[in-house]
């Protein structure tokens, strides 16, 4: 039951991803070809609203529902950030999907999303196995 709130938030998130069409391969191609503002508008306004929210949370030292102080950890740089980012970018343009949209596609009934998720799991597993040998 303690997880129900995450199910609700995830469902709302999935509906927004779907209704804004960002789970469509066509929209991602349109973005990489710079032929519409749609994706840039979605990502840009999401970051802006997120940024303002985080500032408000930090300035007012807000606590979470459980009464814990909200802590945001700083991300540390390593070379995997851009190497891995670049590899994901290649996959993003091929599949037209980030991990979130993959699950929304699956729910919308796209059969190929199941294959894409299995392939993404294989990628994550392979990374985990090779991790010590990769450059950072």
């Amino acid at each position: 039951m303690k997880y129900f709130k995450y199910l609700v938030l995830g469902t709302l998130f999935g509906i927004i991803l779907t209704k804004s069409e960002v789970i469509s391969w066509f929209r991602i191609q349109e973005m990489f070809r710079f032929q519409a503002f749609h994706m840039y508008g979605v990502i840009g306004s999401a970051i802006l609203v997120g940024m303002i929210s985080i500032q408000l949370i930090k300035r007012n030292r807000l606590k979470s529902m459980d009464g814990e102080p909200i802590v945001l950890t700083d991300k540390k740089f390593n070379h995997g950030i851009w190497i891995g980012g670049f590899i994901f970018g290649l996959g993003w343009a091929l599949t037209g999907a980030c991990p979130g949209p993959l699950f929304a596609q699956l729910g919308s009934g796209v059969g190929s999303a199941a294959v894409l998720i299995l392939a993404a799991l294989a990628g994550t597993w392979t990374y985990s196995a090779l991790r010590e040998k990769l450059p950072y």
Binding site: I16, K19, F88, G89, Q105
Partner: protein
């Protein structure tokens, strides 16, 4: 109202709502938005194989798997229950280019059937678009420590320059694929 919900939502409605997911997760459970981690948790739960990176208490991260389950449910509600247009309203320039360069003819659905139909697993297209593409998404996001949600939205919202580097990487890879490798493939 229902009619409004049924139509595709413009960026200025959807974008801010996606942005609000960041404070919602923080306020509800002190959780940072990030979805690619769910792939790691599934690997850790199902095939840990003694790999150190997959040997951790994934049960502490079940919230992330529940969130992802919600996303799938949201996909069903957003697409099947609320309804959807048969053809995504992308720009005429993109339609023209995809017809000319990728020889696409069918623009119905979320993904072009000519590239993503499961029958394609019998030829090179299925292996490149479905298998290799998915593999690169899973491998790259974990190597980079996050995807569009973890780095672009969550990370940049928290003014993390490291996430800026990741996003530049995302776009560099995406542009190379779209502008250089696609013309070689077709």
């Amino acid at each position: 109202m229902l009619e409004l919900l049924q139509q595709p939502w413009p960026w200025y409605v959807a974008g801010p709502l996606i942005g609000l997911t960041v404070p919602a997760l923080l306020l509800v459970g002190n959780k940072a938005l990030g979805i690619s981690s769910s792939l790691r948790h599934v690997c850790a739960a199902c095939v840990p194989a003694g790999i150190p990176f997959l040997t951790y208490n994934w049960r502490a991260e079940i919230w992330n798997l529940v969130f992802v389950l919600g996303i799938a449910l949201g996909g069903f509600i957003g697409y099947r229950l609320l309804g959807h247009p048969d053809v995504i309203g992308i720009s005429a320039a993109t339609v023209r280019d995809l017809k000319a360069e990728l020889h696409l003819t069918d623009f119905t659905g979320l993904l072009p059937r000519e590239l993503f139909a499961l029958d394609n697993l019998a030829n090179w297209k299925g292996w490149v678009f479905l298998v290799l593409g998915g593999f690169l998404v899973g491998f790259g996001t974990r190597y980079a420590g996050g995807c569009t949600s973890g780095h672009a939205i969550s990370g940049l919202s928290n003014l993390q320059w490291v996430s800026g580097v990741a996003v530049i990487g995302f776009f560099a890879g995406g542009l190379l694929m779209t502008w250089v490798i696609y013309p070689l493939l077709f």
